[in-house]
Symmetry: C2
Subunit: 612 residues, 2 copies
């Protein structure tokens, strides 16, 4: 068992991949954390925009939060319908491929990929943010802590974490119950430490300003689509349980959002500084006691788990794209642990780059976030409208109407988002999405070309008999057992065998090249193997170049096919690797890269005696 | 032309390596810089020991320097005799191998290797030290500057710098003439700025203390052997010119050493602090004027060039050891520029590690230095004594006597050095040398074992005819042009061809494994190639494991030899590399590592159409 398998665990049998089925509460833990945990950065994102016009701007936080809740209600309703229509899981890619065509599905796929990477980065950053808010001494270690948490999540996902939904339950429950209790306490408890002087009147602001804050708050809604994607994971009756989970998510998320907003106003809190707004709300409610620290830890954990749900998403999406030949085939290969490892790595590296680029600052990532998500929302809803128009079940007009409202609302939000956040970072996403779409197409074109050459869509031509090859065996000037073995094999493959060796002038050599050549031929004649020896002279100190030239010439001139049979040293272990030159491997590599001839290698393992 | 060749230059023809012949002054530039430049750290090393008992300890600097000069005279005399006896170049390795046997030659070789690496590190550190003494603003950049200078010297040596002896002349002349002039000026010019109050009386010190200082000063003598090693480089009459150069070196070095010591006393200078002692002596003599800066620059350059001479030494020594099978064969291979590249790299990396470890501080390296050199000195002299006793030319008794005195003096110095500097760093060398010797032996044992298996010392057995092989062709489930080509080649090599493919259960697969197998066999029968198809089922998600097991079983059971012919994708360029899985290469690598069967690859280049 090598180090790699020690780290990721023994290989799994294919049938071990059967996923367990989950109920409502496990569904909340496995599929809703991305959405629920956005309370850790969503309200703060709104508040940070609002205080741009002075501290009194915070006055608008409650109305803004109510508007976000309205959009949340529309989304929950819409996705309940997606659950009805796509019991096999209705991701934006699937829904738009089915209803809107290939181009829309590419747009959805690109948006989702960008979104998955951003979700991981933001969740990790916010998780570490929750830690550093509770323990400010950790603040200078933000970036390393982010990378460590990312490494842990990546490692868990390379092992495959199919069976972990239940393990998620405890921190999820502590987070939900604990945070709701702390928020409630904040309203009930008559805190004396906090001033009750009235806030200054709300300043007059532009509609654009309010929209900008609204757009920032939309980040709180990311992740509400995850349950609709994961319907097949639920126990039967699947759709009912999934819808119940979706509604529960909506209620919990809405309550938390409005609670945080109201307490921010009640305690006259202002965002900014090292501690997060959520952390300050909690501190103001209960103080920095054990409850605060327990819930802070739970928040950090569930944010880490929220990153985990993206790891469930991107690799699967990438494998679907790879099967449709829009991404490299490698994304469709399951590793030993049945995980699409390549996708996991792309996600981990992408998130790591983002985290380092913004130095672990959640709010710096917010402007990039939500464009991808809301593009997916809009496409899903639009797809659903088409779906209802095509299938026309009973009451389809109402259903189509609902999804139209959802599409319009999320579409407007997407445009708002791009418009208000463009210079602050949204441009990165606006640039990345078309680039990804272009990439999908180029990759597809390449594979189509390869497919035509390989003839994948029809049986190949019949196998035609080829003439016996002319076998060329590169040998060393010193004749050894390796030479003998290679020539024995060569003689069994063809009656035409040429041994070839390269000699060159050593700068301070006693014997002339001609003399050495004569001597070699004499020894060869004495040994008398069933092959003639060709000696190539080289003016340069290189074996590969003259050999390549010789074989290319043969290959072009000869009516026979050329097969090169190379005696190769296979070192077992590091000492042998260092002690052998492995000229055979060098020649093999060069020939493979530079010619089309068939190359055979006669391996000999070193150190000798380890195998028969 | 790739980047590498752009950097190191076009490949050289073997006959371009002919070395030019040099005269006395070029000899001084090419072979004596290591010795001459030790004035930059030798006197300072003595002085640093002396002031250990207080500033007045410096009083002993002149007597100590005279003692060093005495040893220098003995060495110059001894090496003149080596020049007489070894016109083909008498390195410590060669002399001790000829006269003292294999063990002594290993000791010499190990000592020399350690010494070469230390010489490079010290010369570079001292060169940068000369720079930072003249321009103190550079002081914080010491380590990066050291590494940059090392990189330049390494690069020059990878290009091969055979023709550069003449290029060394200018800085060498500026250094010698300039430094001598500055020293002379220091004595002549009646400086008013310097106090002439008498130094305090010399304190009483132990003999061990004086010996310690003497041992430290011996570093000034490193490099006086280089001329004797390089006799073949000289124009005829070789030995005469070489001896003349050796004497000239002795006189120049002695003069500089005593001059620096005397001026240190005259100007009441004390070593320590950022500026080197030599730099202070120069400042005290002429002030910080243009002459000071020009000579400082010249010193920095010749120290860089002194590092360069080691690059001439270690790679050649390593190639000799590699030819005698005491180091990996790779050290005996000349690169495109006819340089023993491996040796250059080892030297560069070793010196870089040392430079970083001591942060570019010359004096931290001094305790390690000179042990290797003096071990070599002692062995050379001992070897010469044996040499004279064996050959007995006229006057051999006097010659043997001279070398005996040399051997005794350098032997005592070596022991002194180890005793006085052991804890300060000499232990590193005392540990490294036996380790290297042990390594030489282990490597030799390995090669002897390999030699026996390969039968390098006799003609191999006659080439016996082998039976036709059983050819196994791993194929994909989708039959393509690659499959067809591989089977065509296979059919030309043998009438027994087996195609083999692996299928495994996909976690959410619609078709059962049995159905897929049946379908595959049906398609195969329709296509009807001259090979039967074996379908391997795998419970795990791995193609390589079942294939390996199958081939190993075949190889053990079959009376026929097994040859595996693998269709391989050869990607041309990065896009193709990313877009193909290269399963063929993975299988090839696994088979080569884990079996002894002959492996053939049928290459197909991608993107298609780039070659015929």
């Amino acid at each position: 068992m090598d180090v790699w398998h020690l780290l990721i665990g023994r290989p799994l049998k294919a049938r071990e991949a059967e996923s367990e089925e989950i109920g409502t509460s496990e569904g909340l833990a496995a599929l809703s954390l991305d959405a629920l945990t956005s309370v850790a950065y969503g309200p703060e994102a709104i508040a940070l925009v609002l205080v741009g016009v002075g501290a009194a701007g915070i006055r608008y936080l409650v109305p803004e939060s109510l508007a976000i809740m309205g959009l949340l209600a529309i989304l929950v309703l819409s996705y309940s319908q997606v659950i009805d229509a796509y019991p096999q899981g209705g991701g934006a890619y699937a829904v738009s491929r089915d209803n809107l065509g290939i181009n829309a599905s590419h747009l959805a796929a690109a948006a989702l990929i960008v979104d998955y990477i951003l979700t991981v980065a933001i969740s990790i950053a916010a998780g570490i943010g929750a830690l550093t808010s509770a323990w400010p001494a950790l603040l200078p270690w933000t970036v390393p802590l982010c990378l460590v948490l990312l490494a842990i999540v990546t490692w868990l996902n390379l092992r495959g974490v199919g069976e972990s939904a239940r393990a998620f339950l405890l921190p999820t429950v502590v987070f939900i119950v604990g945070l709701l209790a702390i928020l409630a306490w904040g309203f009930i408890h008559p805190h004396l430490a906090h001033p009750r002087s009235p806030l200054p009147a709300a300043p007059r602001v532009s509609l654009f300003f309010l929209m900008k804050a609204f757009a920032a708050g939309c980040t709180a809604l990311t992740g509400v689509e995850a349950i609709a994607n994961g319907v097949p994971l639920f126990r039967k009756p699947r759709q009912l349980r999934a819808k119940r989970t979706e509604w529960l998510l909506g209620i919990l998320l809405g309550t938390m959002l409005i609670g945080i907003a109201a307490l921010t106003i009640r305690f006259h809190l202002v965002p900014g500084g090292p501690a997060s707004l959520l952390s300050r709300v909690m501190t103001a409610s209960v103080g920095r006691n054990w409850a605060f620290f327990v819930v802070s830890l739970a928040i950090a954990s569930v944010l880490g788990l929220a990153a985990n749900t993206s790891f469930g998403g991107l690799p699967v999406l990438a494998s679907l794209l790879a099967r449709d030949r829009y991404l490299p085939q490698a994304f469709a290969i399951r590793g030993d642990r049945l995980v699409f490892e390549r996708g996991v790595w792309v996600l981990a590296v992408g998130a790591a780059v983002l985290l380092v680029a913004v130095r672990g600052n959640t709010q710096a990532l917010i402007p990039m976030f939500a464009i991808g998500v809301f593009t997916g929302f809009t496409l899903s809803q639009l797809g659903m409208v088409i779906h209802w128009r095509k299938s026309k079940p009973r009451g389809w007009r109402l259903r189509a109407g609902l999804n139209s409202v959802g599409a319009a609302a999320t579409g407007v939000a997407t445009i708002l988002f791009i418009a208000t956040k463009f210079v602050e970072g949204a441009w990165v996403v606006v640039a990345a999405i078309p680039l990804l779409i272009w990439l999908f197409r180029r990759i597809h074109q390449y594979y189509e070309r390869v497919g035509r050459v390989l003839g994948v869509d029809h049986l190949p031509d019949p196998v035609a008999p080829l003439p016996k090859p002319l076998v060329v065996v590169p040998v060393t000037a010193t004749l050894t057992e390796m030479t003998r073995r290679a020539l024995s094999h060569a003689a069994s493959l063809s009656d035409q065998v040429i041994a070839v060796t390269v000699i060159f002038e050593e700068p301070a050599d006693s014997m002339s090249v001609r003399d050495r050549e004569e001597q070699l031929q004499k020894t060869w004649a004495t040994w008398n193997p069933p092959a003639r020896l060709v000696v190539l002279r080289s003016q340069y100190h290189s074996v590969v170049r003259p050999l390549l030239r010789f074989i290319n010439t043969l290959d072009r001139q000869a009516t026979d096919r050329v097969l090169v049979l190379i005696p190769e040293v296979v070192p077992d272990g590091l000492p042998a690797t260092l002690l052998h030159n492995r000229l055979g491997s060098v020649i093999t590599r060069a020939l493979r890269r530079r010619t089309d001839v068939v190359i055979g290698t006669v391996p000999m393992h070193f150190p000798p005696g380890d195998r028969t």
